[in-house]
Symmetry: C2
Subunit: 144 residues, 2 copies
DNA sequence: GCACTAATCGGAACCATTCCCAGTTTGTGC
DNA sequence: GCACAAACTGGGAATGGTTCCGATTAGTGC
């Protein structure tokens, strides 16, 4: 999915890639910002946003989906899926069987040229599970 | 999925349900707002947001996922899936085979109590397909 | 009608993200 | 190393979706 056109690898871009490469979390833009500032204290938030966007377009990182939530970024670009905690919003990788089954699922694409899909699970992470709170989001089908 | 506790069905809530019930589009909050204002010209945006949220919690409508995008709402709460145009952002329903296969897919939930999943396809709608523009988003796996 | 609660309005506040622009850095040809 | 153009950056302002808040209105039980 690289964009053909290679981009110049500046200090700030290297720092962003390094930050995303060495965390297994899926940080938001401002989390990336504060981590990058440990290496490059003068970097600006605008630069972080601009470069996250650019690196995602290049296919070097990945942007994760979650409606109305802050955008999150992932340094791993190979094919894997995620689960989001409905309580605290953290995201983890999740191991899934043969999700490529999905490729054969579409019956009627309504005239769309289908490129891909987002598959994101939702649930409650270990930290918040079983403490009595009922977090009934949208259940099966189309999570929040 | 209803919340047990029934809510009072006020004019503005009825109007929102009616608007969502008679469109097959998946309007954003401010599209709902302007449609509701045709019936109830004095309704405020805050009320629309509050009630969309409330109705979604009640399971009477559904909130649709799409990272960094405006939230969209759907009056159909039964189990179906969506496709989003990468160019113009519109969302349509899409017909999918036995997506309940997904229920058996999870191998390692990383300690999460898994509640459900979001499955949203991405592509280019009829209107923008085949006009030479290359819209290479994130392809297969984890769309934007 | 009265008291009480829930819902609403309108606008301000909030916050993630994008835009703008002057200044700096980088790459290229010499 | 020097000059030049293009790309990049920092800082801050602007934008736009969403939430919050105080005052007002509507609904409910008595």
């Amino acid at each position: 999915m690289s964009n053909g056109q290679a981009i110049r690898m500046t200090e700030s871009r290297k720092a962003i890639l390094s930050v995303l490469g060495r965390t297994r979390a899926h940080p938001t833009a401002d989390e990336v910002y504060s981590m990058v500032r440990e290496d490059l204290p003068k970097v600006s938030l605008g630069t972080v946003y601009r470069n996250l966007d650019l690196l995602a377009k290049q296919g070097l990182i990945r942007t994760l989906a979650s409606a109305g939530e802050q955008r999150r970024y992932d340094g791993m670009v190979d094919d894997h899926h995620h689960i989001r905690c409905e309580v605290c919003g953290r995201m983890d990788d999740i191991e899934v069987g043969n999700a490529e089954l999905l490729d054969e699922l579409i019956i009627d694409g309504r005239g769309y040229d289908v490129h891909g899909y987002t598959l994101c699970f939702s649930g409650v992470c270990r930290e918040y599970a079983g403490n009595g709170k009922s977090h009934e989001q949208n259940g099966k089908g189309q999570g929040e």
